[in-house]
Amino acid sequence: MTAAARALLLRDLRLLWRRRGDAFQPALFALLVVVLFALAFGGDREALAPVAAPALWIAVLLAGLLALDTLFRGDADDGSLEQWLLAPVPLPWLVAVRTFMHWATTALPVLLATPFLAELLHLPPGQLGVLMASLALGTPVLSLLGAVVAALTVGMRRSGILVALLALPLYVPVLVFGAGSVAQASQGMDPAGALLLMAAGLVLAIVLAPLAAAAAIRISMG
């Protein structure tokens, strides 16, 4: 299984390297959302600071949603996904490895850009730490839940708004606990409870989401 994982990771990295520019598209989209937010508020520092953390969470969430399309589409198009079904390695394992790779290449750049984006929205000084922690725990969950949705719609041509509709209810708890933890911290309360809940959610998602996504792929391909 580790040999298969390594092979898949190397292949994904090689493919990614050939289209290096694509890796920054989610980060660029998050930046665009941030810019639009700032412009809608007229750039007013007093108005932006209280909403900076929620706005950043939304920007990261939307960027992840857009990136979901590339999770399985490339492999579905060139027939690799059918090879996955036939592989001697368990399908959930392949899904988990692919999702991790996808998170590392699409969400991680956005995470690294977050401090810079936070400055654009005048995020209050103390909140950056909690925000980064909540994003670090939350974005993998979003990727894993998104993998289930992407697997359900992998066969479809123009699934755009349907993917967003399917993903939104699943994303609600992550967004609520993520943005909520920062809100808790800003009110002087301890955000550890919310962050621990997100960590627990992450563990559950790592175990269950690949299983659900694998079942969905079998349904879509079979």
């Binding site: 359900l152 719609t153 699943l170």
Partner: protein, 249 residues
């Protein structure tokens, strides 16, 4: 073979189910209408006005049964989907997908009546309180299942995919509710309760349970008709459908 088991197996055959649904659906709806009429009469005229809320609390008799049904139908949908997935029973796929529009309808009623009830009570048409927010997310889940079912061409794959989504949804629903309750307590310090401080008057119990029974019976009727329509759509071109269609003219 056990007669009940045999009846259950026979029901899975499309023409048998069509006959069963065509026969029983009108009775379910008729019975539901009788109960609805009785319950509505009691709710509007039989129960005294509430001490604090005046007559607006009469909306409770639709809002609460609709809210309970919106949750109940989602559970039933996920259950049918799970049975279909494990035992590969085609009828259960059809029943699961037939649940979705009915559940969505009850969710819309819950949201609308909640909003209308909220205006005289809170002074606003909408509030992001945990119950209404959860209902809104539930509506999106229903719409997602319906959208997915109609987006995939192969009916069986579509039912299985939408069924999987329903199962994932039912697993996440408690998490969603908990997250919204937690978030609400964070921002307001206390949750607004629909019933206020007054306890439920004994005279309110009867109309409430009548309406609950009415909505359940209605759901059964609608489920049968919608499943019948889907069954006919899937089996179109078969001989029994042709004979049935020509016989009805």
């Amino acid at each position: 073979m056990n007669p009940l088991l045999r009846w259950f197996h026979q029901l899975g055959s499309p023409p048998t189910f069509d006959r069963f649904a065509a026969r029983w659906a009108p009775w379910c709806h008729a019975g539901a209408l009788v109960l609805l009429a009785w319950g509505t009469w009691l709710a509007l005229f039989g129960v005294p006005a509430d001490y604090q809320q005046g007559d607006s609390f009469r909306i409770l008799f639709i809002h609460v049964p609709a809210a309970w049904m919106s949750m109940f139908v989602f559970g039933v949908m996920a259950l049918y989907a799970a049975i279909a997935m494990v035992w590969h029973i085609k009828l259960c796929e059809i029943l699961a997908m037939a649940c979705a529009p009915v559940g969505a309808a009850f969710t819309v009623v819950t949201l609308a009546t909640g909003s209308i009830w909220g205006k005289p009570m809170w002074g606003t048409w909408w509030d992001w309180d945990p119950r209404l927010t959860t209902e809104l997310v539930l509506l999106f889940l229903y719409l997602g299942v319906m959208g997915l079912y109609h987006a995939i061409d192969d009916r069986r794959a579509a039912a299985r995919a939408a069924g999987l989504l329903a199962i994932v949804g039912v697993a996440l629903l408690p998490v969603i509710r908990y997250s919204v309750v937690w978030w609400n307590s964070l921002h307001q310090g206390q949750t607004i309760r629909m019933f206020g401080e007054s306890s439920i008057d004994p005279s309110m119990v009867a109309p409430l349970w009548i309406m609950v029974g009415a909505t359940k019976l209605w759901f059964a009727g609608s489920l049968l008709v919608r499943a019948r329509a889907d069954n006919l759509r899937r089996e179109t071109g078969k001989d029994w459908v042709r004979r049935l269609a020509e016989g009805t003219r």
